[in-house]
């Protein structure tokens, strides 16, 4: 029985690179999205909601629900389930609408 998804499909991925999530390094395999790299590390939340400040992460996984938004390389509201993780990307937990810099 396969113990991991990679075992199941016989994956021999290219070497992992790293992205940074809230200041800590997170490995990412080339070809994975940011959301996938975070899930692989057991991280399921990377946003807090505008009203209740509740944690949220990936929900639909296909780009329609917008729950997985995060600030990537300083840019808020990026759909991490669609965005490939690139070496050195900095991902930060997005608070609310992610526009604190605009003071709106």
């Amino acid at each position: 029985m396969a113990r991991t998804p990679a075992d199941l499909v016989g994956a021999e991925p290219a070497p992992a690179h790293h992205i940074e999530f809230d200041g800590r390094p997170v490995p990412a395999l080339p070809g994975q999205t940011i959301a996938a790299a975070l899930w692989a590390e057991g991280i399921t939340a990377w946003r807090t909601t505008r009203v209740g400040g509740r944690p949220r992460g990936a929900f639909c996984g296909i780009g329609v629900c917008f729950d997985c938004l995060a600030t990537v390389n300083g840019r808020p509201n990026q759909r991490t389930c669609l965005l490939p993780a690139r070496p050195g990307d900095t991902v930060t937990t997005q608070e609310g609408h992610g526009r604190a810099d605009l003071a709106v």
Binding site: A2, V9, G31, A58, F59
Partner: protein, 477 residues
């Protein structure tokens, strides 16, 4: 100004004979069939690789030697992908979404955008084609329950999508819940990939299928598919709980357990039947909703499906009510990959002005009959609202609770989802009601047999930068 990925064609008019939107089973089959019949095709797709959600697979860098182990019917995809690869008459445009479409004298103009919306995003593109095939598939229908916004609660299709493309799991112990055949497929993928699945919780008892024995007999492949998923679950000792639902997810920062309850015939939780199951993820969904906003915005006719969603109305040749606009696959009513493949082939022949192959037509008719039976069998019962508490968020984006929606209906007189939206902001957030729409409509008193659901109206099919809108002159559309 937007740039065009295409030059005017040698025959004048639109540079493409056919633009296919979506590279899943329907769009892929349509594009290669139409191109083989001599049409110049553009294949526009939101994904980085052809395949759509059904044939979604890892990037080449992940080095998956056996992607077929996460799939059903992979050989079919491999054959289609080989036909697409380097086809002289297909321009494959991945990583792009069509955000709006407009009618032109000689066909259609599509406006394209990438997912990447920052200042360094690539410029918008326009694409002109004599005919358009909408093969945009579907997304999952969700019925809210207390705790469904906790991290670790994901859609069943989302769990499968992340597994197929990223080789990741949402957790180690995943309860799969909701209704419909996707649950069995998702659960079987999750267990074979190493997750523990303590339970598959299905709201129906499958007895609805018994009403269509002739249809079942005509679709042995669908029965075999179901049996294969069932066998995988048995092998891993996964328990299928029928006529039950997850009525609450527990946890503070992420899900740690769920409460499962038995349902009565109308999907109302039966008091005293609750049972707690520990888990660190929940994969949940109640069937699929056709993604048809481009066509409904243009005014295409729709139909209500037996499970209460809205699909595009098409004729026997996959034509919508708008000249030159065709649809195939889940946009015409959810029915699975085989049906989508057949409809894609039929649409391609219709666009090319060729007679439909009899085999594809027969397969389409059989699979469509099965799809309607399946939809009726899994149509949500009205009693699901019995598991909501007043504090349950119904609209995830705008954090609108069930209590506020009830207030809009009972105290402020809202009679439909649109009025509820105006009074509460439910459905006004980032996802534009794609997640909460069916639930809000139900809480607002519909859809009811005498009031079939109305298609959603969204002028923009996906997010688009304001600068892109500012680039458009009125004549552009």
């Amino acid at each position: 100004m937007p740039t065009s990925p295409s030059d005017p064609g040698p025959r004048g008019g639109a540079p493409y004979d056919l633009a296919v939107i979506g590279a899943g089973p329907a769009g892929l089959a349509a594009a290669v069939t139409a191109a083989d019949l001599g049409l110049r095709c553009a294949l526009v797709d939101a994904g980085p690789r052809a395949g759509g959600q059904f044939y979604r697979h890892p990037a080449p860098e992940l080095g998956a030697a056996h992607p077929e182990r996460l799939h059903h019917g992979w050989e079919t995809f491999a054959r289609l992908a080989a036909r697409l690869d380097g086809h002289p008459r297909i321009t494959h445009l991945p990583d792009r979404q069509v955000w709006t479409a407009g009618r032109r004298a000689d066909g259609w103009r599509l406006h394209l955008t990438g997912h990447h919306q920052g200042p360094d995003a690539p410029p918008g593109e326009v694409l002109d084609a004599a005919a358009v095939l909408l093969a945009t598939g579907a997304y999952e229908r969700q019925l809210p329950f207390p705790g469904w916004t906790l991290p670790g609660v994901v859609t069943a299709g989302g769990a499968q999508a992340m597994l197929k493309s990223g080789l990741v799991l949402p957790g180690r112990r995943v309860v799969v819940a909701g209704s419909g055949p996707l649950l069995l497929a998702a659960a079987s993928s999750l267990v074979t990939a190493g997750a523990a699945v303590p339970a598959v919780v299905e709201a129906t008892d499958y007895l609805g299928y018994a009403r269509g024995l002739k249809t079942l007999a005509a679709n042995p492949a669908k029965l075999v598919e179901g049996a294969q998923h069932g066998a995988a679950l048995l092998r891993h000792g996964v328990r299928l709980r029928r006529r039950s639902a997850v009525v609450e997810a527990h946890g503070t920062d992420r899900v740690t357990a769920v409460t499962v309850a038995r349902l009565d015939r109308d999907w109302r939780p039966v008091p005293g039947t609750e049972r707690r199951i520990a888990c660190d993820a929940v994969a949940v969904g109640h069937g699929l909703v056709p993604q048809i906003e481009l066509a409904t915005e243009l005014g295409a006719d729709t139909r209500a499906t037996p499970d209460g969603t809205v699909a595009l109305a098409v004729d026997a040749e996959q034509r919508t009510s708008l000249p030159g606009l065709y649809a195939a696959g889940e946009t015409c009513g959810v029915g699975g990959a085989d049906l989508a493949l057949a409809e894609g082939v039929l649409a391609a022949h219709a666009v090319a002005g060729r007679p439909a192959p009899a085999g594809a037509r027969r397969r389409r008719d059989r699979r469509r009959a099965f799809a309607e039976l399946m939809a009726a069998a899994h149509r949500p019962g009205t009693g699901w609202t019995g598991w909501l508490t007043p504090e349950t968020d119904v609209c995830r984006c705008e954090e609108v609770t069930a209590a506020r929606i009830t207030e809009a209906v009972e105290e402020l007189g809202a009679r439909d989802a649109r009025t509820v939206k105006l009074l509460t902001r439910a459905g006004m957030g980032w996802c534009q009601g794609r997640m909460c729409g069916p639930a809000v409509a139900c809480l607002a008193g519909g859809p009811h047999p005498s009031h079939p659901p109305r298609p959603d109206s969204r002028p923009l099919a996906c997010p688009v930068p304001l600068a892109r809108l500012a680039d458009l002159g009125e004549a552009e559309l």
